[in-house]
């Protein structure tokens, strides 16, 4: 169980995340949405201890994330940021094997190799596993990084804009995989999304941020309606229901 309690983060004098409290529902997909600069990524970074909060605390199983031992923590929560620049050349298989580092510290045993194989299989990367990352397309690279996180085998998977720079086909592919992770493997997924329709169609729970504060949070159907969206985005957004998906038609509003 992850509980975020009244956390605040300043960049300079400006609060980027301002007194935010959220509980992450286990076994669900939770989306963080909101305009640019709302503090979504910063919030996610603090939950995953990539950033320290200035005040407030994030609790995993009732104890502060800063008090967890780093290798124990990394068996519980994994995080994938949007930019993953590296100056080493790795193959997909080598990258995914790094996902087992919290367990094996670099010496893979049979169990680790099995998990790596499964993760590669899960992301349909078997044919490409010996290709180098810099030879891949954006979608394949993103899948490789998600495979690493799957191999890490954590209860909580945090993703910062995983659909960035992906086309429709790959975006849908990745969202479907995340859905599968929740339903088949019982993971909890927390994801920062820009496209509100992906949030609407795939998430169970939505947290909407604006200017560093939570303006709305609740089950998806409570957030995806014109009134709530008006409050979040300052736009009049009509909603259309199609095949039991609620689609926000914001393009000409």
């Amino acid at each position: 169980m992850i509980q975020v309690k009244e956390i605040t983060k300043y960049f300079g004098k400006k609060p980027v995340v301002d007194n935010v409290s959220v509980n992450i529902q286990p076994g669900k997909i939770t989306s963080f949405i909101g305009p640019n600069g709302a503090g979504k990524s910063t919030l996610l970074s603090m939950v995953s201890r990539l950033l320290d909060a200035d005040t407030g605390e994030v609790l995993l199983d009732k104890s502060d994330v800063r008090k967890w031992k780093s290798d124990e923590f990394s068996k519980r929560i994994s995080i994938l940021k949007q930019s993953n620049y590296m100056n080493v050349r790795l193959t997909i298989r080598e990258l995914v094997s790094f996902g087992r580092f919290p367990y094996s510290k670099g010496r893979l045993n049979a169990e680790d190799i099995k998990m790596v194989d499964q993760a590669i299989e899960y992301m349909n990367l078997k044919d490409l596993e010996n290709n180098y990352l810099d030879e891949l397309s954006g979608g394949q690279r993103q899948r490789a990084f998600i495979a690493m996180v799957i191999a890490q085998d954590t209860e909580y998977i945090l993703l910062d804009e995983p659909l960035n720079n992906l086309d429709m086909k790959h975006s849908v592919q990745i969202m479907k995989i995340l859905r599968k992770l929740v339903t088949e493997l019982g993971k909890t997924v927390v994801i920062v999304l820009h496209d509100i329709n992906f949030a609407s169609v795939y998430s169970d729970y939505i947290v909407a941020l604006k200017n560093g504060r939570v303006v709305k949070d609740g089950p998806t159907h409570e957030i995806i309606n014109s009134n709530a969206l008006k409050e979040i985005y300052d736009m009049d957004i009509p909603i259309q229901e199609m095949n039991s998906c609620r689609i926000c038609v914001y393009f000409n509003s």
């Binding site: 995953s48 290798d71 990394s74 993953n84 050349r89 790795l90 919290p102």
Partner: protein, 317 residues
């Protein structure tokens, strides 16, 4: 070619050069020449390994392949310490003549400097590592300028003597100091070797390293201190070889094409041995001491540095 084979080839070349250097033209002088040559070989091996190791870990924690620990102001500080000694005490002072004093003063000055720098920077809040690099470069330039200023003021004869300190030389290393430096370097490397696999993870970047359970801040700090100790020791032993670490580290990345630091570091160390011992052999027996090894290394290294800059700038466009 497998990495194991490549490693063996390097090892064989290193052994051949070492044997040539030790035994060629010995003329049966086992009591006199051999121990002296052996001390030089040991000094070169220590320097080479210390520089290779510290450069590779430094470049991994700073996520760059161009800057080396010398850039953090360590080489400049060494020159400043030497210049200050000449400026205030002259070339006949005990601090110059007694190599032990000189060694200790240089090592301690460089390590204290590095620790203060890191301490100040890390306590001033969480700053990106680039900030540290930038401050290091600026301080290096600043120290360099003070050094030049003092060198302009001292007696020309003193300056000629000081000039010997400006370039690394293996020709007059002190036997006792080599053993001391060996203890420091070997202990430091054994200590650092425990986190060799964490370094592999660090090359995925800060965020991924933390995600995978690496205690990032702690490792970065301890590795910075470690590389400072190694560079300080090797510089105080033989003098500054600014571009050397850059060459061997980058050649090792290119040649071995792996992320594994155990391979990269051992590879870079072997290359160091080949370059230093082989180079010294060529300088002594072929150029018959017409030039010094460090001049050649800095000449080749400087060209390689420019090549790397051009390559990186093309890659980032």
């Amino acid at each position: 070619m497998r990495n194991r084979t490549k490693m063996l080839i390097l090892l064989v070349i290193a052994i051949i050069f070492t044997a040539l250097y030790l035994f060629q033209g010995l003329n049966g002088s086992y009591d006199y020449a051999l121990p002296r040559r052996a001390i030089k070989v040991l000094a070169m091996a220590l320097t080479g390994v210390a520089i290779a190791y510290s450069t590779v870990i430094f470049q991994t924690i700073t996520h760059n392949r161009i800057l080396t620990p010398s850039v953090m102001g360590l080489d400049s500080l060494y020159m400043l310490v030497q210049t200050v000694i000449y400026y205030f005490f002259g070339s006949m002072s005990i601090l110059v003549i007694n190599k032990n004093y000189n060694f200790f003063i240089s090592v301690i000055a460089m390590i204290v400097f590095a620790l203060l720098l890191y301490r100040f920077l890390f306590n001033a809040g969480k700053r990106p590592i680039y900030f540290l690099l930038l401050v290091g470069i600026i301080i290096g330039t600043f120290l360099g300028s003070i050094t030049t200023f003092m060198q302009v003021l001292i007696d020309p004869n003193e300056f000629t003597s000081l000039q010997n300190k400006m370039f690394a030389s293996f020709n007059n290393v002190n036997g006792d100091l080599v053993w001391l430096a060996m203890v420091i370097i070997v202990l430091t490397i054994i200590y650092g070797w425990r986190v060799i696999r964490e370094l592999d993870v660090l090359s995925l970047g800060r965020d991924n390293a933390i995600n995978l359970g690496v205690n990032y801040d702690k490792i970065v700090k301890s590795m910075l201190v470690l590389s400072a100790i190694l560079i300080a020791t090797s510089t105080a032993l033989v003098g500054p070889i600014t571009f050397f670490g850059l060459i061997v580290a980058n050649l090792s990345y290119q040649y071995f094409n792996t992320y594994k630091h155990s391979v990269l570091i051992v590879g870079a160390s072997l290359m160091s041995l080949v370059a230093l011992i082989g180079g010294q052999w060529i300088v002594e027996r072929i150029f018959t001491f017409d030039t010094t090894l460090s001049v050649i290394i800095n000449f080749i290294g400087g060209i390689y540095f420019i090549y790397l800059l051009l390559k990186e700038s093309r890659a980032s466009v």
